[in-house]
């Protein structure tokens, strides 16, 4: 039972990661694919923050009388990753807008058909 509770975070994170992965490989709609990628990304953030968490620790802001802090390093890495993630999402969405203008659709199989009919 203890083992389940101590690894519950990692398992749910892996479940979310696989849900995102499933959306990316099984759905043809490009906007939904991007949302799948974002879910995958958030689950990677959760994995890092879970590894950095310390039971009974405080947020890593130095205060008098507090001895135990959570690990600040994963927080820094994920802070950077969130901002870069939004930048790449914006780029992907801009590509979707352009694809819609050129092909008239954002469904993957219709884009393929369009390409092969040329």
């Amino acid at each position: 039972m203890d083992f389940i509770f101590s690894h519950y975070n990692y398992w749910i994170t892996i479940f979310l990661m696989m849900v995102g992965f499933y959306i990316v490989i099984s759905r043809g709609n490009l906007i939904k694919k991007i949302i799948g990628l974002n879910i995958f990304q958030v689950s990677a953030f959760l994995l890092y923050i879970s590894i950095g968490a310390v039971q009974g620790g405080a947020a890593p802001i130095i205060t008098e009388g507090v001895e135990l802090y959570s690990n600040p390093l994963p927080h820094v890495l994920i802070l950077t990753a969130i901002v870069v993630g939004v930048a790449t999402t914006a780029l992907a969405l801009a590509l979707v807008v352009r694809i819609k203008e050129s092909y008239g659709t954002i469904e993957e199989d219709e884009i393929h058909e369009h390409d092969h009919s040329l």
């Binding site: 690894h7 749910i12 949302i35 969130i82 939004v86 807008v97």
Partner: protein, 191 residues
Amino acid sequence: MIDIVINIVLLAFLAITAIAIVRMTNLFAIIMLFGIFSFLSAGLFVVMDAVDVAFTEAAVGAGISTVLMIATIALTKVQKEKHTGKHRPWLPLAVVIITGATLVYGTLDIPAFGDPEAPAQKHVAPYYIKQSIPDTGVPNVVTAVLASYRGFDTLGEVVVVFTAGIAVLLLIGGKRTKQSAIKKEREKDDT
């Protein structure tokens, strides 16, 4: 104890939201659910003491991402995901289950959640916590690492965001002749 309960409940909510996103086909509803997903994860970051990450996720992940996605469905005028039923779900499902099982097998050796003696907690983190006030004078260790110890990494991040911004402007900024306008022009030439 209470934060473990909140942790478990929020993670369960996240899993339910993710399943709802898979099953829905209305894009607007999917984007709203993704906003909820992002916000739940921000709450989870607070529970795990990552306050800086939490407010960045709430502002940038739940806020800006959602607005960008809504702008995209407004520009593309696509309301619903088409479900052709041509793809069989079994192959992706098998790939996902095998990958997930391998990853779960990998977690069996990971130290328990919140273990203060885990190797990740023993290496460089104590140095940053001990030295950030004498070195930089900033009490928030995350800020100290981000802006001082690892300032060049943050500069690199700014370069990435700048490049993405330029690429977006080149792709959809400025004036472009619409495909339909080009077609009309051609038809005019033909007649």
